[in-house]
C-alpha cells in the first residue's frame, strides 16, 4: 500500500509542473472541453518511460529507451464522443484539444463543472519507478545468466534469446464529475525463448513473466533461471511431439495461463460496450444461466502486484473485484463510465486505454475462474481419449457469433485416463456460451498466469492477467492434422 496523496503529488510534479500547470489550471482546461451540449469531459495526463534489453548469441545486442507522454481530452454528449490529444502538456494545448473535443456538439446547455472530489483508493502495487530497481550491469547480468543456464540445460539448445523490459507510467485524471485521481504504475517482464535442434527437427520453447513491481524482484525471485529452464523443457517436449488429432473431443485445460479460454470465450463478450450495442452473444442474458453450475468467473483488478491490476482505472474509478458469472449464472458486465451511464449501471473500474492518444473502453484486468472441488488427477482419469493442453500462444473471439479460438503451444494426448504423447500445437475452436456449458469438472488448483498477457481490442493493447484451475470441457474442436 502506498499513500495516494503522495502519488498525486508525484503525478502533479511530473505531469503538470514542467508545463507551468497546477491542479487549479485544470479547471479552466476542463472548461474548454465542457462546451455547450457536452455532458461529461475528462483530461487524461500520462507519461511513460520504457526500457527494453534483448540478448542474443550470449550478448546484449539491443537496448532501447522510450519516453512518451501527453494529454488526451474527451468530451461526451449522449452517445457521442469527441476526442483530441497533444504531446504537449501546456495551457495552450488544453485550450486547443478541449475546443476540438467539444466540437462534436455545437448547441445545448452549458453544464457547470463539479467541485473536485479526489478519489480515495487502495493501492494494489507500489508507486515506484521499476526501472531503477536494478543497475544496467545487473540487468545485463540477468540476461547473461538466462543464456548460460539455458545452454547448460540441454545440448540440443542451439539458440537462446532473452529479454528484460519495464515501464514506469504516471497518470492523472481530472473529470467534469469532480474526479481527481493519480496512479503510478510499474510493469516489468522477463522472457526467454530457445530453439532446440535434434535429429533434424527444430522446435521453439518460451517462458516468461512479470507484474507490477520493481525489476529487482525479478532478480530476487531468480526468474532468469526459472524461465530459462522452463523454455528449454518446453522446446524438448515439442521435439518429441506427434501430429495432433483433428475433430471434436474432451479437452482438459491446465491451471494458470490456459485461463486465456475465459478471456476469449466469455471475457470480451461481457464488456459493457458490446452489450449496450447488443452486438455480443451474451447481450440481454443477465440473470440467465450461461455456464455450467460451479463455474464462477470474476474480473479482479485488486490482485496484489498483478500484471492486469489497477488501483484506479483510466477514468479515475477505483479498481474493483467484479463478479461476472456466479455458479453458472451471468451476474455482471465490465463497465466504463460512458457505457455504465447509458445502461443505467455503475462503472466497475474497467475503463482502460493504451495511452493518452487512445480513447478508453471497457477492458478486462485480471480475469479468473475460481477453484472448484475436483482433484486434477481425477479430471485426467475421467477422459478416455482427448487432449490435455497446458500452454497457449494467443486467442481471438468473434463476440457476435460467440466463436473463439486459442492455440496450444504445449499439449498432450490423454489415452484411457493417462497423459501420453506430446502433440504439436493445434488451434482449439468453440462457441463461448456453449463451451462454458460444457465445463464438467473444475479443479481445486486455481493458479494465476505468470504475467505475460497482452489483450488487443480495436487496435489498442493493454496488459492483462488470467487465471483458472485445471478444468475439463466435454467437447471442443481440436484443429490437428490427424483426422
Amino acid at each position: 500500500m502506498t499513500d495516494q496523496t503522495s502519488d498525486l503529488q508525484t503525478a502533479v510534479s511530473i505531469l503538470l509542473t514542467p508545463g507551468g500547470l497546477d491542479l487549479d489550471a485544470l479547471d479552466s482546461g476542463l472548461g474548454y472541453a465542457m462546451g455547450a451540449g457536452v455532458d461529461y469531459a475528462d483530461l487524461y495526463f500520462q507519461r511513460t518511460w520504457q526500457e527494453g534489453w534483448v540478448l542474443e548469441d550470449g550478448e546484449v545486442k539491443e537496448a532501447s529507451y522510450n519516453i512518451d507522454g501527453g494529454v488526451g481530452v474527451r468530451a461526451l454528449a449522449g452517445e457521442k464522443t469527441g476526442f483530441a490529444y497533444s504531446n504537449q502538456i501546456t495551457a495552450d494545448a488544453l485550450v486547443d484539444t478541449g475546443r476540438t473535443a467539444s466540437g462534436i456538439v455545437r448547441s445545448g446547455k452549458r453544464l457547470p463543472g463539479q467541485a473536485v472530489k479526489p478519489v480515495a483508493v487502495a493501492s494494489y502495487y507500489a508507486g515506484i519507478d521499476p526501472l531503477a530497481g536494478l543497475s544496467a550491469d545487473e540487468k545485463v547480468a540477468m540476461l547473461k545468466d538466462a543464456d548460460r543456464i539455458a545452454r547448460a540445460a540441454d545440448p540440443s539448445v542451439s539458440q537462446v534469446s532473452a529479454s528484460l523490459s519495464g515501464t514506469y507510467e504516471v497518470v492523472l485524471v481530472r473529470a467534469s464529475d469532480g474526479t481527481l485521481a493519480a496512479d503510478i504504475r510499474p510493469l516489468v517482464r522477463f522472457n526467454v525463448s530457445v530453439i532446440a535442434v535434434k535429429n533434424g527437427r527444430r522446435e521453439r520453447g518460451s517462458a516468461g513473466g512479470g507484474g507490477r513491481y520493481s525489476m529487482s524482484r525479478l532478480r530476487d525471485e531468480q526468474v532468469a533461471e526459472r524461465y530459462a529452464k522452463e523454455a528449454v523443457r518446453q522446446a524438448l517436449v515439442n521435439l518429441d511431439a506427434v501430429d495432433a488429432p483433428a475433430g471434436q473431443m474432451p479437452v482438459v485445460l491446465g491451471a494458470g495461463w490456459p485461463g486465456i479460454l475465459l478471456h476469449e470465450a466469455v471475457g470480451h463478450g461481457l464488456e459493457g460496450d458490446f452489450n449496450r450495442k447488443g452486438s455480443s452473444a451474451f447481450a440481454g442474458r443477465m440473470g440467465q444461466r450461461v455456464a455450467s453450475k460451479g463455474v464462477t468467473v470474476v474480473d479482479d483488478a485488486t490482485l496484489s502486484d498483478g500484471r492486469g491490476s489497477l488501483s484506479v482505472d483510466d477514468e479515475g474509478t477505483p479498481g474493483q473485484y467484479t463478479s461476472l458469472i456466479e455458479d453458472g449464472v451471468l451476474t455482471g458486465y465490465m463497465q466504463d463510465k460512458l457505457n455504465a451511464r447509458l445502461m443505467g449501471m455503475a462503472p466497475t473500474g474497467n475503463a482502460r486505454r493504451e495511452s493518452f492518444a487512445h480513447l478508453p473502453m471497457p477492458r478486462m484486468t485480471n480475469t479468473v475462474m475460481l477453484a472448484g472441488q475436483d482433484a486434477p488427477d481425477d479430471i485426467i482419469k475421467s477422459v478416455k481419449r482427448g487432449i490435455y493442453a497446458v500452454s497457449f500462444g494467443g486467442g481471438q473471439v468473434d463476440i457476435t457469433s460467440g466463436k473463439f479460438v486459442f492455440s496450444a503451444s504445449e499439449a498432450y494426448l490423454i489415452e484411457d485416463g493417462r497423459v501420453t504423447a506430446p502433440v504439436k500445437g493445434a488451434t482449439l475452436i468453440g462457441n463461448g456460451p456453449e463451451a462454458m456449458s460444457q465445463v464438467s469438472m473444475i479443479g481445486h488448483d486455481m493458479a494465476l498466469d505468470t504475467g505475460i498477457g497482452v489483450c488487443g481490442k480495436e487496435g489498442q493493447g493493454v496488459p492483462v492477467g488470467v487465471g483458472q484451475p485445471t478444468l475439463k470441457v466435454d467437447e471442443l474442436t481440436v484443429g490437428g492434422t490427424q483426422s
Binding site: A63, E79, Y85, R202, Q396, D398, S401, T477
Partner: protein
C-alpha cells in the same frame, strides 16, 4: 475543423531535427548514428445506427535515434519535440550503448548502397475533408448496408483519413524523406436468425481518396457478406482441398515472407533455413517485390536504413530465389542486403490466373474459407492450424455456410500443394493476390 497540416513545412522541420540529432550524437562521442522521425495527422469518425459515435483528431510525432560506439549499439526514442528532449534522447542512447555487447555485424548499411535515385512515387494525396463531410460519407456507407433486407443492426461504419511525413537520416550523410497519405472507410453489420447473430464487414482503403470505392458499395458488400453467413453449419472432419479468399491468400504470402526474413533465418527460427534455390511452390508460380511502383501502398525508393530499394524476385518459377535481408541480417548470414530493412514492399504474384468459378469446380468437394481466426502459425516448423469460417462446396457448387472449424497443415506442404491462383485480385493492401486453391488440408469440424 481539422488543424491545417503543412506537409512541406513539417518535412523541413523533421529534416532539421534529424540532422541536429546526428550532429549531437557525433559531438557526444558516437562513431555513427541514424535517426528516424515522423509526424502524422488525421481524422477518424465513426457512426452507428445512423448517429455519430466518435470524432477523433490525431496528431502523432516521434523521433528514434540509434548510435554506434565501435561495434556497440544503443537506441532511444521520444515523442517530445523540444530541443532539450532531443538532447536527452541522444544522451540516453549513448548511455545505453555502454552496456550492450560488441557485435561484429552491428552498424549502418554500407555508404555505397545509400539510395541516390529518389523519385516522387506519388503516395501523398491529402484529402481536404471536413468533419461533417467525413460523417456524411460514413453515414451513407452504413445506411446503404442497413437498407439491405435482413440486416438487423449495424456495428458501425468508420472513416479515417490521414497524412504524414517521415524522415530517415544517417551519419553517412544520407537523408531520405517521404510524404504519404492513407484514407479508408469500413462498415460492419449484424444479421440474426433463430440460430443467433452473425457479423461481417467490408472496407476500402487507398492512398488517393479518388481511388476509394463508393461508400454505398462498401455498405452493400458488408451486408452481402453478413447475410450469406446466416444458417451456418459445421463441416465434416476430414482431408479436403481449401480455397482461400484473396485477403487470406495475402496472409499466406505474409507467412512466407516471415520465413524468408533474415532475422528469422539467422536465429534458426524459420522452416525455410538453408533452403535457398530449392523448390517450394509449383513451377508456374513466381513472387516479386516492386518497391518503386508509382502510387502503390508501400512504395518507397529507400528502405529502413537508407538503402536503395529494388525489384526483388523471392520466388522464381517455384524456387526460393532470394531471402529478404537488411544489412544486419545479411552480415549475420554472410550475404548482402536486399534492401528490405523494414520489410517487403508491394508484393506481386506472377502466375496463370483462373476465374473463381473455375477454382471452385477444380476443387470439387471441399472448403472455401472467407475468414480465419487466431494465431496458430509456427514459423519455426511451418505448422499451421487456424479457426475458420466459409462455405461447404460439393462438385464445384457452394452448398451452405460453415463455421466453427479449423484448417490445419504445414506451410511447406501447403505452398507445394498450391493448385491455382484466382483472377479476383485484392489490391487494397501491399500484397496483391487472388484466391488460392490448396490441396489436401485437414479440416476439423463435426
Amino acid at each position: 475543423m481539422a488543424q491545417a497540416f503543412d506537409a512541406s513545412a513539417q518535412q523541413a522541420l523533421l529534416i532539421q531535427r534529424a540532422e541536429s540529432a546526428l550532429a549531437m550524437a557525433k559531438r557526444m562521442g558516437a562513431d555513427a548514428a541514424e535517426v528516424g522521425a515522423s509526424v502524422d495527422q488525421g481524422i477518424g469518425v465513426s457512426v452507428r445506427q445512423g448517429e455519430v459515435e466518435t470524432v477523433e483528431l490525431s496528431r502523432d510525432q516521434g523521433i528514434a535515434i540509434t548510435v554506434y560506439v565501435g561495434q556497440r549499439k544503443g537506441s532511444a526514442s521520444s515523442t517530445d519535440a523540444g530541443e532539450a528532449s532531443l538532447l536527452a534522447t541522444v544522451e540516453k542512447a549513448l548511455a545505453i550503448a555502454r552496456y550492450t555487447g560488441e557485435d561484429a555485424a552491428a552498424g549502418l548499411a554500407d555508404a555505397a548502397l545509400m539510395a541516390t535515385d529518389l523519385p516522387d512515387l506519388k503516395v501523398h494525396h491529402p484529402w481536404a475533408l471536413t468533419t461533417d463531410q467525413a460523417i456524411e460519407l460514413a453515414l451513407a456507407c452504413e445506411q446503404a448496408g442497413r437498407d439491405v433486407a435482413g440486416i438487423t443492426q449495424s456495428d458501425g461504419a468508420s472513416l479515417s483519413s490521414g497524412e504524414g511525413v517521415r524522415v530517415y537520416a544517417n551519419s553517412h550523410g544520407f537523408v531520405g524523406t517521404q510524404k504519404g497519405s492513407r484514407h479508408s472507410l469500413s462498415c460492419m453489420l449484424i444479421a440474426e436468425d433463430a440460430q443467433g447473430m452473425q457479423r461481417d464487414m467490408d472496407y476500402t482503403s487507398a492512398r488517393d481518396p479518388a481511388e476509394l470505392a463508393d461508400p454505398a458499395m462498401v455498405g452493400r458488400e458488408a451486408a452481402r457478406r453478413t447475410l450469406r453467413r446466416l444458417g451456418a453449419k459445421r463441416p465434416p472432419t476430414g482431408t479436403y482441398p481449401v480455397l482461400f479468399d484473396p485477403s487470406l491468400a495475402s496472409g499466406l504470402v505474409g507467412h512466407l515472407m516471415g520465413a524468408l526474413a533474415g532475422g528469422a533465418l539467422y536465429r534458426q527460427a524459420s522452416f525455410l533455413c538453408d533452403r535457398l534455390n530449392t523448390p517450394l511452390f509449383p513451377d508456374w508460380f513466381s513472387l516479386e517485390e516492386r518497391p518503386m511502383e508509382v502510387g502503390a501502398t508501400a512504395s518507397s525508393p529507400f528502405d529502413g536504413e537508407g538503402v536503395q530499394t529494388r525489384d526483388n524476385r523471392f520466388i522464381d518459377r517455384g524456387r526460393i530465389a532470394s531471402y529478404m535481408l537488411s544489412s544486419y541480417s545479411a552480415r549475420r548470414l554472410n550475404m548482402t542486403t536486399t534492401g528490405n530493412a523494414g520489410g517487403a514492399r508491394n508484393m506481386r504474384i506472377t502466375a496463370p490466373l483462373t476465374r473463381h468459378a473455375s477454382l471452385l469446380s477444380q476443387m470439387g468437394t471441399g472448403v472455401w474459407v472467407t475468414e480465419l481466426m487466431g494465431q496458430g502459425i509456427n514459423g519455426v516448423t511451418g505448422d499451421y492450424s487456424r479457426g475458420a469460417a466459409g462455405f461447404w462446396v460439393e462438385d464445384g457448387v457452394v452448398q451452405y455456410p460453415i463455421e466453427e472449424f479449423t484448417i490445419a497443415g504445414n506451410l511447406e506442404r501447403m505452398f507445394g500443394g498450391l493448385v491455382g491462383v484466382g483472377d479476383d485480385i485484392d489490391r487494397r493492401g501491399s500484397i496483391h493476390s487472388g484466391s488460392w486453391l490448396i490441396d489436401g488440408m485437414t479440416v476439423a469440424g463435426s
